[in-house]
Symmetry: C2
Subunit: 287 residues, 2 copies
């Protein structure tokens, strides 16, 4: 497995792989790899001859300097995990490679897609940062497909919209949220949870389960469904930043759950901000 730092080396490597007859896949990450990322790598591996994984803690998508500073960085460990999962090439640029002096361009996706949920909580600059860096990574690596986790549901919607709008010739593949045995969605931030916080954090997937269960039982009123989730959170003393039922492509709030609907949550446990989601009405086997 190679590790490259520059767009030029990345392009040469993918061109060589393509010349040798492979299709190419990219798994964009901010490092701190866990089983969730590795499941994306395995999905990419199963469909493509050349698998790239990018590691870049993108400063432009952090709206909180402390969150950026606290984000775990452990490239040696990440590289070993990537290699073990079958990655062919790691692209690990420094910030100056992606944002050289005089950089002045922002890719902005407007509307509810970026203004609600995470956009409301973290500020609109967050998704500007996401859309800008993902467009740059997709232009740099020019993969046939790029793999994203359903766990960052809104990021996925923003990326799909940006890719469709700019006409980038890449297939965006969504992979199911990867969960620990106890049900907590895997996240690079989970390592910052203390033992007691970890137990409280389980209220998040339990709240989503309660809502999904009620929906399966026939409840369609959004307020009633959300109340089920809020009750579960309250039992554990977890305050949601948001808990919402939204249309899965536009992210506009829904009043009645009669079509497939995304139920998304963000909550802080201690100083760790966690997000999770579940798609309702998408068949019984979704979890």
């Amino acid at each position: 497995m190679r590790i490259v730092r520059t767009v030029r080396e990345l392009r040469e490597a993918v061109a060589a792989a393509r010349a040798a007859g492979s299709t190419a896949a990219l798994v964009p990450t901010m490092g701190a790899l866990h089983e969730g990322h590795l499941s994306l790598v395995r999905a990419a591996r199963s469909e493509h001859g050349f698998v790239m994984l990018s590691i870049f803690v993108n400063p432009k998508q952090f709206t909180d300097a402390a969150d950026l500073a606290a984000y775990p960085r452990e490239e040696g460990r990440d590289a070993a995990l990537a290699e073990g999962a079958g990655v062919d090439l790691v692209f690990a640029p420094d910030a100056a490679e992606l944002y050289p002096g005089g950089f002045a361009t922002t890719v902005h996706v407007s509307g509810a897609i970026t203004e609600t949920l995470e956009g409301a909580g973290r500020g609109s600059a967050h998704f500007d940062g996401v859309a800008t860096v993902v467009s740059k990574l997709l232009i740099a690596a020019a993969p046939d497909a790029a793999y994203f986790g359903q766990k960052d549901a809104q990021q996925l919607v923003v990326v799909r919209r940006m890719v469709a709008d700019l006409g980038l010739p890449v297939r965006i593949v969504a992979c199911p949220t990867s969960r620990d045995e106890d049900g907590l969605a895997r996240s690079s931030r989970n390592v910052r949870l203390g033992a007691e916080q970890r137990i409280r954090a389980l209220a998040i997937p339990r709240a989503l389960d309660a809502i999904a269960e009620a929906a399966r039982a026939g409840e369609t009123d959004a307020a009633a469904l959300l109340a089920r989730g809020e009750a579960v959170l309250a039992q554990s003393g977890v305050d949601a930043e948001y808990l919402a039922l939204v249309q899965p492509d536009t992210l506009e709030a829904v009043q009645r759950v009669t079509e497939p609907t995304l139920c998304a949550i963000a909550a802080r446990v201690g100083d760790v901000r966690l997000i999770d989601n579940v798609l309702l009405g998408d068949g019984p086997g979704r979890r």
Copy 2:
């Protein structure tokens, strides 16, 4: 020469040309072709085996609905001129092909580059529209090089910045401003000038000439140089929307002309808005 309407056909055509060993060039236009556009085609033709010309009157870069409505559209004439100049393929999409339903993405270049000169006069949405459509055209056609006229100097600076920032793998080529015998910069808008207006409009290149002449004679004070130009305009009763001396890459105003400096002007003659520019300190043969 082929005319295609869809990104899919465009991609197939350029892929076929490349498979046959050609490099590919794109000349983006809004149609209403004149000798200036054709000079871009000939420059592209001299360096590339496959030359594409796009015709798209981009609604997103017009901040004035009347200006958009009045913009000349004459595809049959344009196609004949393009073919005569050696274009291999015309890409003439309709608005729905480039901006389908739900389109929500803007490519924005920030700073003086987009806020001064045309950005101040036409509103910042103008260059958002330019950067967005040019990024889409470059992603769609994936040319090795794209050719732009120096006449739209600020557009060229915005495009260069956007291309560098997004890392689009395309060479941006600037070609000299094409002028009629009387010195007026060629523009699709010139056809809207009446005979008397046409004569008054010549004050624009004469003002630039006067400034360039004074700079060659050793004047370095920006205010003194601009006063020379203003005097020429005043003689013809032409009021400049702006007449400015700016650094050529950042477009920040300069006080003293000791390095290569862009002198740019916009002025209305009747209801026709004209722009022009000259690069000072770029050697004696620049005009």
